[in-house]
Structures are given as C-alpha cells and as structure tokens.
C-alpha cells in the first residue's frame, strides 16, 4: 500500500522523513512565511523578531512550529535554543540550516512530507509529531 495521507476519524496522518527523533503532541503554530534566525529570532522571548513577519513576537514556546522552509544565516539555529524552544519542528522544505537547528534543539523534527503539511495544519490544531515512526498526525481544532 502506498504510504501517503491517511484520514481517519478527524485525524489526518502525513508521512515524512525524520530529522531528529522523538514523539510529542502539542498545539501547532503555523508560519505561512519562511523563518529567519540570527538577529531576527529571540530565543529569550521564544519568538521571531523579524519585521514584516506574520508571527512577529508570537511565542512558539512549547508549540509544534510548522513552517515552509528556513532562510538566512546559520543563526537559524536560534529557534532551537533555550527554555522557550518549540516542542517540535515540522517544515515543508529543508536545507542545512534546519539540520543544525534540529541538532541544537534535540526535539522531534520532520521534513520531506508526502503532502505539504502547510496545506493541512492551521494554528491551534493539535499535531502529534512521531518522528521515530516517520509521521505526523493532525487533529483539527
């Protein structure tokens, strides 16, 4: 059976690739725009400080941070630093910035999904990130 999208009672499962392992369920915070680190991320406050960003100063602490792709400098890893880091990362596209971030954070991180998670997940949905078994499961709010 092709592994793709499985929809059961109110739950949507999407398979993808594990970057960093673990399994956690938390509320989603969705960034429709790529995220940028270094001076445009405040690990102390646990939010992006990028002007023009829809999530400007919106806390991602303890959330499943869902975003299309990383951009900017190696300081992208700021998203994985400190007590206010997210519970997990879910992102559509990847590059070495996200690799370094996952390694700093040591929290479940997934990418390369068989369907773009941004098409499905909205802020406030509950998302189970089962990186160990290679899927996310979304419960709509």
């Amino acid at each position: 059976m092709a592994r793709g999208v499985e929809i059961t009672m109110e739950k949507i499962r999407i398979y993808g690739r594990k970057e960093f392992g673990g399994c956690v369920e938390a509320e989603a915070l969705v960034s429709p725009k790529p995220l940028e680190g270094f001076a445009n991320c405040s690990p102390e406050m646990g939010c992006t400080t990028e002007r023009n960003h829809p999530l400007f100063k919106v806390s991602y602490a303890g959330k499943v941070l869902v975003y299309p792709s990383p951009r900017g400098s190696g300081g992208f890893m700021s998203y994985g630093v400190g007590p206010n880091k997210p519970a997990a990362f879910v992102h559509t596209e990847t590059c070495p910035l996200a690799v370094a971030c996952a390694m700093v954070a040591h929290i479940p991180s997934m990418t390369d999904f068989e369907r773009d998670p941004l098409e499905v997940i909205e802020t406030g949905d509950m998302v189970l990130v089962n990186a160990d078994e290679g899927y996310i499961e979304i419960t709509k709010k």
Binding site: R17, E19, F20, P34, E36, F38, A39, N40, C41, S42, M45, T49, E50, R51, N52, F56, K57, P68, S69, P70, R71, G72, S73, G74, M77, E93, T94, C95, P96, L97, V99, A100, A102, M103, V104, H106, S109
Partner: protein, 434 residues
C-alpha cells in the same frame, strides 16, 4: 543508516581518544539528521564560529580537554580559519576603543571598556587554536584575506551563510554551512546537499527586466531572488558580470531573503558555461521574473524609515575588501563627517588600510575603522541611534530584529555607498531607488 569507514568506526569507538570520539558522534548525528549516507574526506578549507568546540551544546567539550589534545600535538586536518570575532560577545578586533555599543544592550557589557574587551576576546582559546594551526582571520568574509582558497571540486566545510555561495558558486568548490571544530579537526563532513553533484544544478530560472549592473542592484536583486527561490538552486539570467563587491552583496543578500547555497550565472560562474549546463540539460522546474516591481518592493522592505535625519552610518557588511576601502577613502579625502561613520573590514586588512593611508584619511574625516564583527553580531547600535544608514541588504534586514520593542524600533535608511557617505557628510538621507 550511516556507512562508516574503518578509521571512522575506530574514532567512534573511542580508540583515538575522547575528543575524536565526541567529534565523530557529532558528525554521525549530523548525517542522521541530514539523511546523509556517509562522510566525505575534506581536501579544501574550513572555518567555524570560535571559540566553541561544537555547534551543538550536546557535543561540546571543555577547555581542559582541548588543552590536553593540543599539548599532545593535535592539529586541524585542513587549513582552518576563524569566522567572525569571538563568540558570544563578538567584539571588534580593532577600533573597539571608540565603539560605544553595549553588547546586546546590556549596560554591563560596553564594547569600549578595556576589561570587557580583554575578556570578550578570549585569547586563551586562540593560543590553543593557533597551536593547532588555526589562522585567526576573524571574518565573515575570510576569502578576501585568507590568501588561500579552495580549488574547483574540493570538499570544504565553511560556516558563514554569505560565504558558502562564494565557495560553491564562485569557486566551484563544495561546502554546506557546517564548518565546526569536528569537521576541521577530523577533515570530514556529512556527504549531502552541496557536496553531491546532482544537487548543484539549477532548478529555477530567474529572469530580469533590467540588466543587473550596479552594486545596489545586485544587493536588492539578491534579496528579492532569495525570497523567491527559497532553498532552491537558481540560474540567474539577465544580469551583467558581477564585480567581487557585487558577488559579496549578491551572496549575502541571497542568504537573507532565502537560503541559496549555490547558484549559476551562465558565462560567469565556473559550473555554468551555458544555461543548459547550469540546468543539467533539463527544463527548469520553474521560471520566475525578478522585474521592476519585485526590485522596488525589495528596496522598500530594506529602506525602512520615517525620518531622514541619520544618527549613524555603517559600511561593511560583509566585511569590506581593500578596493572598497580605497573607494571610501577617495570619497572622504578632505571632507568632514557630520554624523558618525563606522567602516567595518576584516582584521587582516587593518594594517593594510593603515599602511595605504586609508586609516588616516578616515580618521581625518571623523570616520572610524573597525574590524572583525558587525552591528547585528555585536547586538545593536549605540544607545542614541534611532536612524541608521547602511548599504547592505543583509545588515538592514537583520539589525532591526534586535529592536522588537514598541518603544524603540530602529529605523534603517538603505541605499548605495554614495548615499551613505552623503548621509555621513550631511546628516541627511537623500537616497532613492532608481
């Protein structure tokens, strides 16, 4: 599953000691996260953010452990350079005496305090690193002063987003943004992304309406292109032939708007003799136009201010080449700045600028030469600065991130080097998009 060679397995088992083991553990984890199947032996150059012993807190080791291996004769396996000024305070290497910035706006951390500077430079680490062979360039643009560049096809491990495309696109060497103690010490990196030939071809064709020619056009074009192509490899068409300054602007702006580790300019960059070659003979997955509207929008994103009264002018992101320092000296000759003008370059060019007489020209004009860091890295601007003028898309887009508070939103005037020098001499911003 990562396939390790015998020497790598030996290190992982700790047979070569604690530090090689922890470095190998780090690299194995990096392979797993990245989906890399093996490590590649590096034959090019490396750099990393110093003095950290790892990019990940889970694989750091102590000063004492470092000292132990250095005393036993440990050396970096590849020619290794230091990225910017020492973390985490990232003080200016030169010019700190007149740098009235409080690091990260912490009043206990004034960059112009001798005691603070001495501690922030963390000399004890660099004594050890130099014994291991590190060349302490302390620059985001090591390639302009290192005097030693990797050659076509060599595998490298650099760690600066604005420099990595110089390695990949401009030199034809191969690097991801993964320079670390581990990669430079072991001479090994995860084999993925830009190390692999297939990943280096363009998939997005970028077109323009105007021919990209001037420094600011390259900078704005880079930012707009980065925002458009994201993590993908573009082939850039409709541009002129970039100068070294313009390549530095393009590379830093591409990695502000996006995450572009590699690109092609047909007839200019070494892996793109033709458009077809850049695309590996395939059709692009997508074509995109960075036209007049896109350039204007990018310029307006970067030029972010309500007041034309400038408090500080900053040039040198990425660190300036000797040619740009010469140009700035010519423009300042016999003039006086009305507002502070800070000029930032690589530490190894400080004495060159001094010997060439540029430093005296700057000082006579009331301008100030610094090296090794930048405003965003230091954590901000001097306290009284409300409006900053600069000529770098990267610095413009990052520096305001240090000022998220409603009661103090830093404003940025963004324009050409000439606009910035004019602002330094008059105190007024008169730049506009043309």
């Amino acid at each position: 599953m990562v396939q390790l060679k015998d020497d790598e397995k030996r290190m992982l088992q700790g047979e070569d000691g604690f530090v090689p083991r922890i470095c190998m553990e780090y690299l194995v984890e990096l392979c797993e996260v990245a989906g890399a199947e093996k490590l590649v032996d590096l034959d090019g150059t490396g750099d990393f953010h110093t003095p950290m012993t790892s990019m990940s807190p889970f694989y750091e080791f102590s000063f004492e452990e470092l000292e132990k291996i250095v005393n036993a004769g440990a050396r970096f396996k590849i020619p290794t350079f230091a990225n910017k000024a020492p973390f985490f305070m990232q003080p200016p290497v030169h010019g700190w005496e007149k740098c009235n910035v409080c690091a990260y706006r912490d009043k206990n951390c004034p960059q112009d305090d001798p005691a603070f500077h001495k501690e922030a430079m963390r000399d004890e680490w660099y004594e050890l690193y130099r014994r291991m062979g590190m060349m302490t360039t302390h620059s985001c643009a090591n390639y302009i002063t290192s005097t030693y560049l990797p050659t076509m096809g060599q595998h490298c491990s650099w760690n600066e987003s604005s420099a990595v495309p110089y390695c990949n696109a401009n030199l034809g060497a191969r690097s991801n943004i993964d320079g670390s103690f581990a990669t430079c010490f072991l001479g090994k990196a995860a084999y993925y992304d830009m190390h692999i030939t297939e990943n280096r071809y363009a998939t997005v064709m970028v077109k323009t309406e105007r021919t990209i020619t001037t420094d600011i056009e390259w900078d704005v074009f880079g930012f707009a292109t980065g925002e458009d192509v994201g993590v993908h490899v573009p082939v850039l068409t409709g541009t002129g032939k970039p100068t070294t300054t313009q390549i530095m602007k393009l590379n830093s702006a591409l990695n502000t708007g996006g995450a572009v580790r590699m690109y092609h300019i047909p007839g200019t960059t070494p892996e793109a003799p033709t458009i077809e070659f850049a695309l590996n003979g395939k059709k692009p997955e997508r074509e995109t136009m960075i036209g007049e509207a896109e350039l204007k929008k990018a310029y307006e994103t970067l030029n972010y201010h309500t007041s034309d009264d400038v408090d500080l002018v900053y040039l040198g992101c990425p660190h300036l080449t000797i040619v740009d320092m010469m140009k700035i000296a010519c423009k300042l000759e016999g003039k006086k700045c009305r507002v502070p003008l800070w000029i930032m370059t690589a530490p190894w060019l400080y004495d060159v600028a001094k010997n060439m007489g540029y430093l005296k020209t700057y000082e006579d004009a009331g301008a100030h030469l610094l090296t090794g860091t930048c405003l965003a890295a230091m954590g901000g601007v001097p306290e009284n600065v409300k409006t900053l003028a600069l000529d770098s898309a990267k610095q413009s887009y990052y520096i305001t991130g240090r000022y998220p508070d409603d009661d103090y939103r830093l404003q940025v005037c963004y324009g050409t080097q000439d606009d910035c020098i004019d602002a330094a001499l008059t105190g007024k911003w008169r730049g506009e998009w043309k």
